[in-house]
C-alpha cells in the first residue's frame, strides 16, 4: 500500500509529457467501459473490439506513424472511482483523448469534467440526448447518435411495416434510459398515429429476475404491439418468458436494442418481431458485409471472442475512426507532423469518419449524425439464432432534432406525414 502511494506520488511529480507539436511516442487514449456489472454485456465486447482495432491500426503504422495506446477504466467500479480514474488518466496518464462513456449518467458526470480539464472527450456509447440540448461544450463530442433518432427509427419502422395496429403496451427497465426512451417513443407515436391506445405501462426494476406478472397482465390486455427498450439480461429474460408463454403469438414486439441479444436469445426470439440496433449496427450490415475490411474484422472478432459483434463494437469502431480522422485531418490541414490540441479541435468541426457502419458526421453542436438500422426477426436456419429481414437503413440527419432544439419539443412539431416523408433504404435481408 505504502509503496503504491509512494509510486503514485512520484509519478505525479514527473513532468506531464512532451509538447503537443512534437510527435509523441504514442497517442494515449483512455476509454471508460463497463468491465463489471450488468452493462458489461456491452462494455466487454467493446473493449475486446477496441483491442483488435487498435492492434490493426498500429500494425499499419498508427496515425502518421504514432501508435495509439488505449487504457481502460471500469465504469462498474462506481462513480467515485470513475471520476478519480478519469482525472488520473488525463492528468497523470497523459491521455490526449478520452472515450467516455457507456452509461448516460456517467456521460453527464464526465462531460463537464472533461470540459474543465480541457481534454477532448468522445461520448462513444451513451444515449441521452440531453447533454448537448442542455449545455454547449467545446471539448465534448458524440461519435454516434443519441436516443432521439434511435427511437424515431423504431416508431417509423413500426408504422411503415404494421400501419394498422391499435393498442400498445410498454415494458421498460425502471431507470433513466427506460423512461427517456419511452418519453421519446410515446411523444412520436402520438404525433404520427394519435389514435393508438396505450393499454399498459410497466416499469419493472432494473435487473428484475422475473416478468411473470407483467406477462400475465399483457396476456389479459392483448395489446397489438409490445414495446421494450430493455437490454442485456433483462431483455433476454423478458423475451424468453414472453415467448415461452406464447405472448408473441398475438402481439408484435418492438425491441429497439434486441440486436445485442440476438445471439444469446437463439431460437427463443420468434420470427416477425421488430429489432433495432442503436444505429446501423449489424454483423450482416447489408451495405457493408461484402467489404473486405468489414469481413476481415468480423472474422477476427469472432476468432478472438467466439461471438458475433453487438452494437457497442460498432460504437467503439466509430470512436476510434473519429480519432484517426480528426488527427489525420488536423495534420493535413496544418501541414504539421503532429497537431496541437487546438488543431485537433478545429478538425472536429464537420468531421466525417467511417467505422464499421455507414459514415458518421459531427454536427456543429458536436452531435454525431449516424444512420439507423431496423429489421424484422427471421429464423431461417443460417445461424442458430434469429437474423434480420426486411431491413431498413434510415439516414440519421432527418431523424435527429435540429441544432439548438430540444428533442421532445421538436418531435411535437411533426405530423403524421413525417412518416411518409422519410424514405429509408430497404433490403430484403
Amino acid at each position: 500500500m505504502k509503496k503504491l502511494i509512494a509510486t503514485t506520488a512520484l509519478c505525479a511529480a514527473l513532468p506531464m509529457g512532451a509538447f503537443a507539436q512534437d510527435k509523441p511516442d504514442s497517442l494515449k487514449v483512455g476509454m471508460t467501459t463497463f468491465l463489471t456489472g450488468p452493462a458489461s454485456v456491452f462494455g466487454v465486447p467493446a473493449r475486446d473490439a477496441m483491442d483488435i482495432m487498435v492492434q490493426n491500426l498500429n500494425d499499419e503504422g498508427g496515425i502518421n506513424g504514432v501508435p495509439v495506446e488505449v487504457s481502460y477504466i471500469d465504469e462498474g467500479a462506481g462513480a467515485e472511482a470513475l471520476t478519480s480514474e478519469f482525472r488520473r488518466a488525463v492528468e497523470q496518464g497523459g491521455a490526449e483523448v478520452m472515450f467516455a462513456s457507456i452509461s448516460s449518467g456517467n456521460c453527464q458526470t464526465l462531460a463537464p469534467l472533461a470540459e474543465d480539464l480541457e481534454v477532448i472527450n468522445f461520448m462513444w456509447d451513451c444515449g441521452t440526448q440531453r447533454i448537448f440540448e442542455e449545455a454547449d461544450y467545446d471539448y465534448v463530442f458524440r461519435t454516434q447518435a443519441n436516443a432521439t433518432p434511435e427511437m424515431l427509427a423504431a416508431v417509423i419502422y413500426l408504422l411503415k411495416t404494421q400501419p394498422d395496429f391499435e393498442t400498445l403496451a410498454v415494458v421498460n427497465q425502471d431507470y433513466a434510459w427506460g423512461r427517456d426512451s419511452w418519453d421519446i417513443f410515446r411523444t412520436a407515436l402520438m404525433q404520427f398515429k394519435p389514435d393508438v391506445e396505450i393499454v399498459g405501462e410497466f416499469f419493472p426494476a432494473f435487473g428484475a429476475p422475473d416478468y411473470s406478472t407483467e406477462i400475465s397482465r399483457l396476456q389479459a390486455l392483448q395489446p397489438d404491439v409490445v414495446l421494450s427498450t430493455s437490454w442485456g439480461g433483462d431483455l433476454d429474460t423478458f423475451v424468453q418468458q414472453a415467448s415461452q408463454r406464447g405472448l408473441m403469438n398475438n402481439s408484435t414486439f418492438v425491441l429497439p436494442l434486441a440486436e445485442s441479444s440476438l445471439e444469446r436469445l437463439g431460437s427463443a426470439l420468434p420470427p416477425g418481431q421488430i429489432v433495432g440496433a442503436r444505429g446501423d449496427h449489424y454483423f450482416l450490415h447489408p451495405e457493408r458485409r461484402d467489404d473486405e475490411d468489414f469481413k476481415s474484422f468480423m472474422s477476427q472478432y469472432e476468432d478472438q471472442t467466439g461471438n458475433i459483434t453487438v452494437y457497442s463494437v460498432f460504437h467503439a469502431s466509430q470512436a476510434l475512426a473519429a480519432l484517426e480522422a480528426a488527427y489525420t485531418k488536423a495534420i493535413e490541414e496544418n501541414g504539421v507532423e503532429w497537431p496541437s490540441q487546438e488543431q485537433v479541435l478545429a478538425a472536429m468541426d464537420g468531421l466525417e469518419f467511417q467505422g464499421l457502419g455507414r459514415p458518421v458526421t459531427i454536427r456543429e453542436d458536436n452531435q454525431g449524425i449516424e444512420a439507423q438500422l431496423m429489421g424484422t426477426s427471421a429464423q431461417n436456419g443460417d445461424y442458430p439464432f434469429a437474423t434480420l429481414e426486411n431491413i431498413m437503413i434510415f439516414d440519421g440527419a432527418e431523424l435527429t432534432a435540429p441544432v439548438g432544439e430540444v428533442s421532445t419539443d421538436w418531435i411535437e412539431t411533426l405530423g403524421p406525414e413525417f412518416v411518409d416523408e422519410i424514405e429509408p433504404t430497404t433490403f430484403e435481408n
Binding site: P204, Q241, R264, L265
Partner: protein, 301 residues
C-alpha cells in the same frame, strides 16, 4: 378488479413467492441455528444458477433428454452446498462464532464480495439462459392466460415439499433434533455430548444447498448474470426479517405476503411494485418488532 384478474394475480404471486421462499428458507435456517445472517447467501444462489446452466447445457449438448435437467439441478445445489458452503463454514465462520455479530456479518459480506468476482472469473459477464427444464413441462392455460407448468405448479410444489420436509426433518429425525437442541442452548447441547461443530457445519451446508437450489430452480426462468445475487439477498432479508428470524413457517407466509403484494401491485398500481417488499417489512416490524412470528427475547433482572 374482477375475480379473474384477482385469481391471475394470485397465481403470479404464489409462483413468485415459492422461489423467494426457497432462497429465504436457507437463510432463516442458518440464522435460526447459528445466529448468523449470511450475506453470501445471495452469491450461493447465483452460483447455484450458474452451475445448473453450465451442467445442464453440457449434459444436454451430449444429447440427453431435457427431463434430465431436474436431477442436475439437485446435483448443482449439492455441489454448491458442499464445495462452497462447507469450506466457508469450516475455514472462516468457525473462527468467529465467539466474535460480535457485526463481525460475523462482515465476514459473510467479505465472502459475498469474493464470490461475486469468482462468478465473473468463471462465467464471464454475458448473461446465460438455459430453459430446457421449463420447456420440458409445457404450458397450461387458465382464464385465457398461458402459464408455464414449471412456474405455476412445480415451483409452489417444491416450496411446499421443502417446507413440510424441513419441518419433519427438524422435529422427527434424530439429526434434526440435535440441530434444534443446539439452537436452543448451544452449551447445554455440548454438555450432553452433541458435537456442536458438526451441527453447525451440517446446518450451514444445508442452508447453502437451499440457496443453490433456489438458484438452480430459478435458472430456467431468468437470465443468469452478474449481480443477481445482490438483489436476491435483500429480498430474502426482507422475507426473513418480516417473518421473524429463524421462523421457517413464518418465512413461507412472509414470502407469500411479499409475492402477493408485488403481483397485486403490478395489477393495481405498478409504480409501487418495487417498494412492496420493504414497505411490508417496515410496517410489520413497526407493529411487531420481532417479526410476525418471532418471540420477544425475555429480559430478566
Amino acid at each position: 378488479m374482477n375475480l379473474t384478474t384477482f385469481l391471475l394475480a394470485l397465481f403470479d404471486g404464489v409462483s413468485y413467492a415459492a422461489l423467494v421462499f426457497i432462497v429465504a428458507l436457507g437463510l432463516t435456517l442458518i440464522f435460526g441455528v447459528m445466529r448468523i445472517l449470511n450475506v453470501a447467501h445471495g452469491s450461493l444462489y447465483a452460483i447455484g444458477a450458474y452451475a445448473t446452466v453450465s451442467l445442464v447445457g453440457w449434459v444436454l449438448a451430449l444429447g440427453a433428454a431435457p427431463i434430465l435437467a431436474f436431477p442436475l439441478m439437485i446435483v448443482s445445489a449439492i455441489l454448491v452446498g458442499v464445495l462452497i458452503g462447507g469450506p466457508v463454514e469450516y475455514l472462516l465462520l468457525r473462527r468467529i462464532y465467539d466474535k460480535p455479530e457485526v463481525l460475523q456479518l462482515l465476514v459473510t459480506f467479505a465472502v459475498f464480495m469474493i464470490l461475486e468476482d469468482v462468478q465473473r472469473l468463471v462465467w464471464g459477464t454475458q448473461p446465460y439462459f438455459e430453459a430446457q427444464a421449463l420447456r420440458a413441462l409445457g404450458n397450461v392455460t387458465v382464464f385465457g392466460v398461458t402459464y408455464t407448468v414449471y412456474q405455476l405448479i412445480l415451483l409452489p410444489l417444491v416450496a411446499l415439499t421443502l417446507l413440510v420436509g424441513l419441518r419433519f426433518f427438524l422435529r422427527r429425525t434424530v439429526t434434526g433434533k440435535l440441530i434444534t437442541a443446539t439452537t436452543e442452548d448451544r452449551e447445554a447441547a455440548q454438555s450432553i455430548g452433541i458435537d456442536a461443530d458438526r451441527v453447525f457445519l451440517l446446518t450451514f451446508v444445508m442452508g447453502a444447498i437451499l440457496a443453490g437450489l433456489g438458484g438452480a430452480l430459478a435458472s430456467p426462468t431468468t437470465s443468469i448474470l452478474p449481480g443477481m445475487g445482490a438483489d436476491m439477498i435483500v429480498l430474502s432479508f426482507a422475507v426473513v426479517a418480516t417473518a421473524g428470524l429463524g421462523q421457517i413457517e413464518g418465512a413461507a407466509i412472509a414470502a407469500l405476503m411479499i409475492g402477493m403484494g408485488r403481483s397485486f401491485a403490478i395489477y393495481i398500481w405498478p409504480e409501487v411494485a418495487v417498494l412492496v417488499p420493504y414497505l411490508i417489512m417496515v410496517l410489520v416490524l413497526l407493529v411487531r418488532p420481532e417479526g410476525l412470528f418471532g418471540s420477544p427475547a425475555a429480559r430478566k433482572i
